[in-house]
């Protein structure tokens, strides 16, 4: 099935500009791994970055800058192409993740509600955004919740739908601080999503209130 829901252009621009925080970067990268259209768009934005760079007024470098760098040109090359580090292997069973995310470690799945499990992913740098996998059984009605910041969701397997449409593998959903109603998981298989959440999560209703302490990551 083809991808229907893409990140906003602003988000793709911020990705190419390198101004997303790591958690949000991970969510957009997960979509890009599966979407050639958005990969092309971020590549275009890197060209725009080049054009912006080329059009900037120059700032004079310190007097000896060139000499100092020239003195280092013979140094053995410290740069290495990205290594294929094995990582923890914790995420090997999850399809659809970018290679660099598969090298991260992850906590075990934890139960958060009937039919719903959550698995935090440990980011290697400070991020204001928490990243976790959310696995829901077929036909689960996902918990209604609000959040204080931006929430990005990218579907890895299975599907869900809510008032804004149907979301399958690769689809990207951006939630703002409004509440999602009637999020239903599809009937065929488990739905696993990668979620990047900025700010605090608030469960709605009585059940949500009970679950709240477990959801803090």
């Amino acid at each position: 099935m083809s991808i229907q829901h893409h990140p906003l252009d602003e988000l793709l621009t911020a990705f190419a500009a390198g101004t997303l925080d790591l958690g949000q970067h991970v969510a957009v990268a997960t979509h890009l791994t599966q979407c050639a259209r958005c990969r092309d768009a971020t590549q275009l934005m890197e060209h725009v970055g080049g054009a912006v760079l080329a059009s900037l007024p120059p700032t004079p470098m310190s007097g000896d800058a060139l000499t100092r760098v020239q003195a280092r040109l013979r140094e053995p090359i410290a740069y290495e192409t990205p290594r294929e580090e094995p990582g923890s292997g914790a995420l090997d069973d999850i399809p659809g993740l970018p290679a660099f995310v598969r090298r991260y470690s992850a906590a075990p799945w934890k139960w958060i509600a009937p039919g719903v499990r959550l698995r935090p992913i440990q980011l290697p740098a400070v991020s204001g955004t928490r990243v976790f996998l959310l696995k829901s059984r077929p036909n689960t009605r996902m918990l209604e919740h609000t959040h204080t910041g931006m929430e990005m969701t990218c579907v890895l397997t299975g599907c869900f739908s809510h008032e804004a449409g149907h979301y399958g593998p690769g689809d990207f959903d951006l939630g703002d601080d409004s509440m999602r109603h009637n999020v239903m998981v599809g009937p065929a298989e488990d739905c696993i999503c990668l979620v990047a959440m900025h700010g605090a999560l608030r469960m709605a209703g009585f059940i949500g209130h009970l679950i709240q302490p477990f959801v803090r990551l």
Binding site: D9, E10, T13, A14, A17, G18, T19, L22, H25, A29, L32, T33, A36, R39, D40, A41, Q43, L44, M45, E46, H47, V48, G49, G50, A51, V52, L53, A54, S55, L56, P57, P58, T59, P60, M61, S62, A65, L66, R68, V69, Q70, R72, L73, I77, A78, Y79, E80, T81, P82, R83, P98, A99, F100, P124, A125, V126
Partner: protein
């Protein structure tokens, strides 16, 4: 600033040839020319991204040092010289930012990996990058002054729309609509490429 052949920097192909000269025979004169042109531009980019003066100078030096070291990886069919140098500078800035944070343990090859999201085996629907840079430049020139300004600001450090609105002293809604319009125009360009 003038290009090595004495013309304006409009033709990015000249810069690409200099990077290839480094890759092929460690051409130090080519490196000096690239340094003189790009290091001051990268320094401005760093300064506008909120990096302090001394660090901006150092990061610009590091960027050009990586241009030397990675020259063999430069593929002019994927990115023009300026876009390639932009991505090196971007990744170095992210790396420096993380090092500045407590607990940030990354290295530049790790940041490179974070932007490597294309795992398809062969060349696929790539933006035809050979002339892309010059075309993107003319597309940017075709934007209105305000649209271009909003576009440019999104390439500096974490300028959320609210902050851009404050800098330009225009309402937030205006920033959003200008940003959307600018993006649409550039998207149309993308359509021409593919």
């Amino acid at each position: 600033m003038t290009a090595p052949d004495g013309q304006s920097a409009a033709d990015s192909g000249d810069w690409a040839r200099l990077i290839e000269a480094i890759a092929l025979h460690q051409d130090r004169a080519a490196f000096a020319a690239l340094f003189e042109h790009f290091a001051p531009l990268v320094k401005t980019l760093m300064r506008r991204s909120g990096v302090a003066e001394s660090s901006a100078d150092e990061l610009a030096q590091e960027t050009l040092l990586l241009v030397w070291r990675k020259a063999a990886l430069f593929d002019p069919s994927i990115a023009g010289a300026a876009a390639w140098i932009f991505t090196i500078a971007r990744n170095l800035r992210i790396d420096a930012h993380r090092r500045g944070q407590r607990g940030g343990v990354t290295e530049i090859s790790g940041i490179d990996a974070e932007f490597h999201v294309d795992e398809s085996p062969g060349p696929e629907t790539r933006v035809a990058a050979a002339q892309a840079e010059n075309r993107v430049r003319s597309a940017l020139a075709a934007l209105s002054e305000e649209q271009r300004r909003v576009m440019e600001l999104s390439f500096y450090e974490e300028k959320a729309h609210g902050e851009i609105a404050r800098i330009l002293r225009i309402p937030l809604g205006t920033v959003k609509s200008r940003s959307r319009l600018a993006m649409n125009k550039l998207r149309n360009l993308l359509g021409e490429f593919s």
